[in-house]
């Protein structure tokens, strides 16, 4: 038994018919899984805030990273089933390989998955660091949000004593929500802006968002809060800064 160099082994390996078939299947499945990326963004709708843009970017990136991994696994098992199936209900006449593992493959697998993991992590931390910078943003308009079984209240504390049950926001202006609850836990979710934080009794939680689209969007309570949880929704009206001011003044507030 003469020793065979790694490069020879790899060369032989890649020349095998089944390896080529699996490779084609891999490409096929990778594309199939990758197609989910645009679909996801489409289902989530146009991003109504900078935060939602990041969310959709992340999901797209993760899907593209996941596609080859999922594609490889699908390809290997699909090809094995199609090509090496032992038909019928009796035990297979032939045995499979007696290989008990393959060191280089295992090492490569672990290295690649670790690498992907590091990419995910760095990406995530970078996103969060962006959020952190926004946290120090002094210009953010503060609005108090109160959850109540089963209504949301908004206090525009920087514009006098204005209180509403639907939310009004000026476009392209960062907002800082101070969120709390007078009873059980709720979760303050502005759906199309991709942001959410729980409303807890006896505590104030923070949430930042910068709306980027003018229009009406949905606020839904995302934490089961009892009988009429499903009815705990309202609208957010993102309007121009002039319209926002007009609305504030109409409701007895000041600039």
């Amino acid at each position: 038994m003469s020793p065979v160099s790694v490069s020879t082994r790899i060369r032989h390996f890649t020349k095998r018919t089944y390896v080529r078939h699996v490779f084609l299947l891999w490409i096929f499945f990778t594309i199939m899984v990758g197609l989910f990326a645009p679909l996801q963004s489409k289902l989530m709708g146009p991003a109504a805030s900078t935060q939602m843009e990041v969310v959709q970017e992340t999901m797209t990136l993760f899907t593209y990273m996941a596609a080859p991994v999922a594609g490889l696994i699908f390809a290997v098992v699909t090809y094995s089933l199609l090509a090496w199936r032992s038909k019928g209900f009796v035990a297979p006449q032939y045995e499979g390989t007696n290989s008990r593992g393959n060191g280089p493959t295992t090492v490569a697998w672990i290295l690649v998955s670790s690498l992907l993991c590091v990419v995910l992590l760095i990406w995530g931390l970078a996103e969060m660091a962006d959020g952190q910078t926004a946290r120090g943003d002094e210009r953010a308009r503060i609005i108090n949000v109160t959850g109540n079984q089963w209504v949301w209240n908004f206090d525009y504390i920087e514009n006098g004593n204005v209180r509403s049950q639907e939310l009004y926001l000026p476009v392209n202006e960062p907002v800082l929500f101070h969120v709390t609850s007078v009873d059980v836990n709720h979760s303050f979710w502005i759906v199309q802006m991709g942001v959410k934080v729980d409303a807890n009794a006896g505590a104030v939680t923070d949430m930042r968002v910068t709306p980027t689209l003018i229009g009406d969007f949905d606020i839904r309570c995302a934490e089961l809060c009892g009988l009429n949880h499903s009815a705990m929704f309202t609208k957010v009206h993102v309007v121009s800064q002039g319209d926002y001011l007009a609305w504030i003044l109409k409701n007895g507030g000041h600039q």
Binding site: Q51, M52, I110, L120, A222
Partner: protein, 640 residues
């Protein structure tokens, strides 16, 4: 003279123990419950400023504990310790009687210590729980078929969501380590029984006692909280919540007992020669699972004890106005909640890892990776709980670290995937039902796992948390991954446990229908989740109507497939084709003993000289290297 008298008394006393069974348990349980109810109502004091609600909670909890203690006494759970205290420890005859020697069917209906009986009992109760929880899922989906459906009112909807959740969680936690961890695992390691046979029976009958407690919740005003039972909503909930609390306390005791038992058995009772390297992978998975459960469930128990004290004594653990915090609950809950995912998943995956070599006729690919993967998941599973709380507002600065630990889990999980596909690669894929389960699990769990990575990312989680996307994700892992694994395990060990083959002529179509229905259901749920539908709502925006309709149709398909599968299991069990001792040609020890398995499993303790994965022959392609030539074609080498 006095000697004879003693023998007669002893016989008489033994006679009482031998009259106890599940029926005496139920009767005694009801009697004690009624007595406890009456006493509690009569004597539990009520403060001047307290209302009837608090009193009712106290009475209900007392009644439920009364039932549990009464039932356990009546079924004979305390016979052993009682006799020991009386200095009349159980003799050999008693032990044999407890083990169900020559008792026929009756041994399944009493406190029997034989691990094989306990395994079958677990299997049956698991299937009953799935039937109940599954029916509830059908009701939920029926309500959600249309946006403004009035099939259920909000109270019932919330209750069913909570009941479905907790019943399925309990069922999936016990579904593999219960039936197979008890029946198969001891034989697999060459033991004659579990380390603590009486604790084994205890763990099962505690679950049995907990079932009526849990099912009483709808009649006590329901559960308005979902299965997470978040405080302070749980403090506000009607008396149905007390049923939840008591159930969890009983269940936590049961799982602690079972965990200690299985762990001890696997560590100390392996056959001679069965080093860790030769121990089947299923043993690793099960031990890891119950090992994770041992620290995790006491947290759950504590969370529910606090919840009960808040409800009945105004303890204010979770009441912010009096110094408590809802975040305390959330932390305790998820300290159990995330490890629990792996408590469910690990033994199911390990069962599939166990059968994949048998159905590929090749050794487990990289045994060490499999063990390492299981160990890695086990370790990390304790360190990720707060990824369920990214959006809760609790300690936002911890989101980064928890994102790190969560994403790290993808590495050991990936190792398990490698083991699966490596084993299948160049194997002989034998397309029986157990192997189909492996395929279905790989597909579903991959989707479940990858979507899990999305949500480990903090900003993405802000967008998706609390939406139907989450519901779809965890059903892909727990149902598509774990439950599919359990079905595979059932199909695999069915011949050994029942002595009959599972009829695959109906079984395979049923399984395929279930899988198709499953994917339709939860793809629909991913869809509405991305569109922005929140979880646990009885009514929703018209926008989500199409996706929900798809989900409901898929759910009915699952229901149909599940009924077919249940039919197959019942009929095969009763009059299926009689199985040989080792129908799959497997190499683990449970296939080396006769079917039905004799009372003490092995006549002669086995000696193990290799691991059970010695399948396969030299791969035709690897032989070529020696001659350094290309294969002329695939088919020819296939025939070597």
């Amino acid at each position: 003279m006095s000697h004879t008298a003693e023998v007669t008394t002893a016989k008489k006393r033994k006679g009482l123990m031998r009259k106890l069974n599940v029926w005496t348990g139920i009767v005694f349980g009801v009697v004690v419950a009624v007595a406890a109810h009456y006493l509690a109502k009569r004597y539990i004091p009520m403060g001047a400023d307290e209302t009837g609600t608090v009193l009712m909670d106290r009475v209900v909890i007392t009644t439920m504990f009364g039932w549990t203690i009464g039932f356990m006494a009546g079924v004979g759970a305390f016979v052993g310790p009682y006799r020991w205290m009386m200095n009349r420890d159980l003799d050999h005859d008693d032990q044999m009687w407890l083990a169900g020697k020559d008792a026929g069917m009756a041994r399944y209906f009493r406190f029997t210590t034989d691990h094989k009986v306990v395994g079958i009992q677990y299997l049956v109760i698991t299937m009953v729980l799935f039937a109940v929880g599954g029916t509830m899922a059908m009701m939920i989906r029926t309500q959600l078929m249309r946006a403004d459906s009035t099939f259920l009112n909000n109270t019932w909807y919330n209750t069913l969501v909570g009941m479905h959740g907790i019943i399925m969680i309990i069922a999936t936690i016990i579904m593999v380590s219960g039936p197979f961890g008890n029946f198969v695992l001891p034989i697999m390691i060459g033991a004659r029984d579990m380390a603590f046979p009486r604790l084994n029976a205890l763990s099962f009958w505690l679950i049995f006692a907990a079932v009526p407690v849990l099912l009483s919740a709808p009649f006590l005003g329901g559960i308005s909280t979902g299965w997470t039972a978040y405080a302070p909503l749980s403090t506000q909930a009607p008396a149905g919540m007390d049923a939840y609390i008591v159930t969890i306390i009983i269940f936590a005791v049961s799982s602690a007992v079972a965990g200690a038992n299985i762990t001890t058995t696997a560590v100390t009772m392996r056959a001679r020669g069965m080093t860790w390297n030769r121990t089947p992978i299923f043993v690793f998975g099960t031990v890891a699972s119950v090992g994770v459960a041992i620290p995790a469930f006491p947290m759950f128990m504590a969370s529910q004890i606090f919840s009960g004290l808040d409800r009945t004594q105004g303890a204010a653990f979770y009441d912010a106005a009096n110094g408590g915090s809802g975040w305390l609950y959330a932390n305790l809950f998820w300290l159990m909640g995330h490890p629990e995912v792996y408590v469910i998943l690990l033994p199911a995956l390990a069962a599939l890892l166990e059968l994949t070599p048998v159905f590929s006729r090749s050794p487990l690919f990289s045994f060490n990776s499999a063990v390492g993967g299981i160990a890695g998941i086990t370790g990390l599973s304790m360190l990720v709980w707060a990824h369920h709380m990214y959006a809760s507002g609790w300690a936002p600065d911890l989101n980064g670290p928890f994102m790190l630990t969560t994403e790290l889990i993808s590495i050991p999980t990936g190792m398990l995937f490698l083991v699966f596909i490596g084993t299948i690669w160049r194997g002989r894929v034998w397309g029986r039902l157990p192997m189909l389960a492996v395929y279905a699990m790989l597909f579903n769990f991959l989707i479940g796992g990858l979507t899990g990575i999305y949500m480990s990312d903090v900003p993405v989680d802000y967008a998706l948390h609390g939406s139907m996307y989450i519901t779809a994700h965890f059903h892909y892992t727990l149902m598509g991954g774990a439950l599919t694994g359990m079905i595979g395990a059932t199909a695999y060990w069915f011949p050994k446990m029942t002595g009959r083959m599972l009829n695959e002529k109906i079984g395979i179509p049923a399984f395929v229908i279930m899988q198709v229905g499953f994917n339709v259901t939860f793809m629909g749920m991913f869809l509405v989740g991305l569109q922005g539908q929140q979880r646990r709502v009885a009514h929703y925006d018209k926008l989500f109507e199409n996706g929900n309709f798809i989900s409901t149709m898929g759910a009915y398909t699952i229901g149909f497939g599940a009924l077919m599968l249940l039919y197959t299991v019942i009929t095969s069990w009763r009059r299926g084709e009689v199985a040989s001792d080792n129908p799959w040609g497997a190499k683990t020890l449970e296939w080396m003993v006769p079917t039905p398995v004799p009372l003490e499993n092995f006549e002669v303790p086995p000696v193990v000289t290799s691991d059970p994965y010695g399948f396969g022959g030299p791969d035709a392609y690897d032989l070529e290297y020696e001659e350094d030539r290309r294969p002329s074609d695939d088919l020819e080498t296939e025939r070597v």
